[in-house]
Amino acid sequence: METLILIIIGLVAGPIIGGLIAGLDRRVTARFQSRQGPPILQAFYDVAKLFGKEAMVVNQWQILCAWVYMIAAAVSVGLFFAQGDLLLIFFVQAIGSVFLVMGAMAGKSPYSQVGAQRELMQILAYEPILILVCVGFYLVTGSFSIEAVWQLDQPLLAKMPLLYLALGYALTIKLRKSPFDFSTSHHGHQELVKGVLTEYSGPYLALVEIAHWYETVLVLGLCSLFWTTNVAWMAVLLLLTYMLEILVDNTMARMTWRWMLKRVWLIGMGMSVVNLIWLYAG
């Protein structure tokens, strides 16, 4: 019963928190660029407006894919709040990513095709790191379930500092922030148009947006597990991490997927492996 209540809290709170973060993100970014920026609730206004638009698709499969993306993202957040198995949560999350890509490939547009291919490269870059982070959790707590993390008496960050940094890479890629924003971009007037999102429009784009909020919450939730002994420090850790994300987003140019793949597989994986060696030895 308790689990069920937690799941419902997760499902309801997920998009609200995610939407607020998106709004804050835009506001802070605007301040960095000496602009006023939109209201914090702008992300919700946007989605509400999208839902009111006429439904248009290039391909029937996009409707299916957008819905499955949203549902899988919601289920993975639900599982996270139910204190489920980390590795399983991660695999359920992957359902959403795969359907987003397949939906983009269903449309014949070259822009969404290119975006889909690049999105696959992003998955290729962050997946191994996320799996190794899960393995790190297992080595410290003796279990893949989130429940075990709460039993710890010292923050995980102390044991897995390098894995946290590697997770930072994964976070940036997952949130599609610069320098890793090459499967879709914030602004549609670039060479990529909107990449993987080009052919999603109206209500379906709104679904994709909500799914993305869920994903943001999931990844930040994973970060929060690194400091479970004290809620205040957990909040500080999350705040610092996200601020760093915004800073990186605003100060970096977009790179290529080759650059990402080499950088992330070498440095990200390298850090993860070193950290894992410490854990195996310890």
Binding site: A55, W61, V68, A94, K108, M121, I131
Partner: protein, 631 residues
């Protein structure tokens, strides 16, 4: 009991003879369908009777069955040697002669011919019999209309189907014998039969490339046979026993015996086409699709992993076990990487097969109850999904005349049924809560205690997503409103539908499959089952609840998508005005400009030609390391 066993092993042989000598296609179809049905029932009957202790077969027509097997062994080696001479392959001749010489010494000098119970049925054997008999039969049934169409294309004067179905059916019998064998010599005999059958079937079309590839398959597998004989002799030197159950019960017995088991694993590697032996399985694609489906999914390659898995208790806790795990994990990641660079659908399936077999072997090497569970689950679910996908590619190839995934773009528009089944097949390979991914989840959790293995599994897992997702996505397209329905022959539709439904439904039943068939294998079972989810201290997977939640979600999504005719269908955005003609836009000079998009195959990073020699060299080093680890 023993009647069922005889039925499972000998009925395919009898049916094969019928197919060979009665040259009527009606009789052949009937025989194949009836054999398939009887085999399926017999396998289920065997399962119903439960596991059984090793039992002796006794004599057939007054001749001891062990003696009969020995005679047939040498006859088989003779036939293979003959093919070696015919194709002027020194490798085949050498490996076969060496096998024969060692075997003579083994039979004449070393062993004292005491009676050894020939057959045994534990959980692993029974599961393998089910996989072979049911999936193998479905593939054989699919082959009936497929081969007819295949030969229509070739304009043969005289049908070669009798020979084809002869070997196809023998294959099923040999596989059943192999997985039920308790006497090492029997195991070796059936092992060699599958080698010969695969050689003939790969070379069936008798084109130049088919012959070349079949010869390569034969020499590689003869090498495996030689490794098997050496391993068998070393194990016998120490244990003095041919009884597999007894050898396994005794566990590792020192360096000599473990080295012997190492050689037997090496034989398993060749048969399971592990790197550096992957080339024979890739070459097997030239054969008609049912052959590749049979080789890849339920028989040949599964014989390899079965052998490695069967002997797992005999190397538990040794360095050899770690070696096996690392070799398997390496194949998993290497073949997943090679797969990224492929656009040929059958080649993608082939590399993915080898990659998954690597994962199974890796699990056998990790050798904990959790890992063994993962390995057996993967055998079951991979066999279903992969045979389905092979049959799909075969159907698509006969429809569009190409097996390139770039040519399959938008397949749904013209062949909705085939495309839909293919997409479902791909998803069952790729996503939770389907069986393949649940097994992969178990494998990763089991591998977490070994840093080398887990790193390779993490990388391989990511690579896998890429090549499946882009294939699935490119099949999707919109049907024209009043398009004619797709036509499919009944005997093609039947196996496709059964396998597709099986892949989904058996995944839902995975907790019960685990509970009834796998859990009794272990003293301490890795999971407990409650409400359709598998729970352990290390982590749990709620299979049935996930199926219910995600299933409802997908149903809802399908319903939403099925109303698409009401939404506005728009041409894609092209950065210019869309032209009347599909696939073009109005470009400069007001003319139509065609556009196209293809998948990225990352040639500069994942080129097959560049990577293969590197991977082969690394794999050989790892195998040497593995065998050395036994000492």
């Amino acid at each position: 009991m023993s009647n069922l066993l005889l039925l499972l092993i000998l009925l395919p042989v009898v049916s094969a003879l019928v197919c060979y000598f009665v040259r009527s296609s009606a009789v052949r179809s009937l025989t194949v369908v009836a054999t398939g049905a009887i085999l399926t029932l017999a396998a289920l009957g065997l399962l119903g009777q439960g596991t059984f202790e090793p039992l002796a077969v006794g004599s057939i027509l007054g001749i001891s069955s062990d003696f009969l097997i020995t005679v047939m062994d040498f006859a088989l080696l003779g036939v293979i040697f003959f093919y070696g001479l015919k194709h002027k392959s020194l490798l085949i001749q050498g490996f076969t002669l060496a096998q024969a010489a060692l075997l003579v010494w083994f039979e004449m000098v070393m062993i004292d011919h005491t009676a050894v119970p020939a057959l045994v049925g534990d959980q692993l054997s029974l599961i393998m019999v089910l996989v072979v008999s049911i999936i193998g039969s479905l593939i054989c049934i699919f082959a009936i209309p497929y081969m007819k169409e295949h030969e229509d294309h070739l304009h043969l004067k005289k049908s070669r189907q009798p020979q084809f179905f002869f070997f196809l059916l023998i294959f099923l019998g040999a596989m059943n014998g192999l997985v039920l064998a308790n006497n090492v010599l029997w195991l070796y005999f059936f092992f060699e039969v599958t080698t010969l059958c695969s050689f003939v079937l790969i070379g069936h079309d008798a084109t130049e490339v088919a012959t070349k590839n079949s010869v390569r398959a034969l020499w590689m597998n003869s090498f495996g046979g030689l490794a098997f004989v050496i391993g068998m002799m070393l194990v016998y030197m120490k244990t003095g026993s041919l009884d597999i159950s007894a050898i396994l019960a005794a566990g590792p017995q020192g360096a000599l015996m473990v080295t012997g088991v190492g050689f037997i694993c090496l034989a398993g590697f060749t048969k399971a086409a592990q790197v550096p032996f992957q080339s024979w399985l890739l070459g097997a694609m030239v054969a008609p699709t049912p052959v590749s489906a049979l080789l890849h999914s339920s028989t040949m390659v599964k014989a390899g992993v079965y052998v490695v898995l069967r002997f797992a208790p005999a190397y538990m806790g040794t360095l050899l076990s770690d070696g096996v795990a690392i070799c398997g994990a390496f194949t998993f990641v290497a073949c997943a990487a090679l797969c990224i660079g492929q656009s040929n659908g059958k080649k993608i399936l082939a590399y993915s097969t080898v990659s998954n077999l690597g994962l199974i072997i890796c699990c056998a090497g990790i050798n904990t109850p959790l890992a063994i569970t993962a390995a057996i689950m993967l055998i079951i679910f991979h066999a279903i999904s992969k045979s389905l996908l092979f049959l799909c590619v075969g159907t698509i190839e006969q429809a569009i005349g190409s097996r390139d995934i770039e040519d399959m773009r938008g397949l749904y528009a013209k062949y909705p049924r085939t495309a839909l089944i293919t997409i479902i097949g791909i998803l069952t390979m790729l996503l939770p809560p389907f069986g393949v991914l649940v097994s992969k989840w178990m494998a990763i959790e089991a591998a977490s205690s070994n840093i080398y293995v887990i790193i390779m599994l993490a990388m391989g897992s990511a690579l896998t997503v890429v090549y499946w997702a882009r294939w699935g996505g490119s099949l999707m397209a919109t049907r024209v409103a009043d398009a004619a329905p797709e036509k499919q022959a009944l005997l093609i539709r039947l196996p496709l539908t059964i396998l597709c439904a099986g892949a989904v439904l058996l995944s839902v039943a995975a907790p019960w499959i685990y509970n009834s068939m796998l859990a009794p294998m272990f003293k301490v079972a890795p999971f407990t089952m409650s409400f359709g989810s598998l729970d352990a201290v290390t982590g749990s997977v709620a299979i049935v609840p996930l199926f219910i939640v995600l299933g409802l979600g997908v149903l809802f999504a399908v319903k939403a998508a099925s109303g698409f005719r009401k939404t506005k269908i728009m041409p894609p955005y092209l950065g210019g005005a869309n032209a009347e003609e599909d696939g073009t836009y109005i470009g400069p000079m007001n003319g139509p400009v065609p556009f196209s998009a293809g998948n990225m195959y990352l040639g500069e990073l994942f080129a097959e030609g560049k990577l293969t020699p590197i991977f082969n060299a690394l794999a050989i080093a790892l195998i040497v390391l593995m065998l050395g680890g036994a000492l």
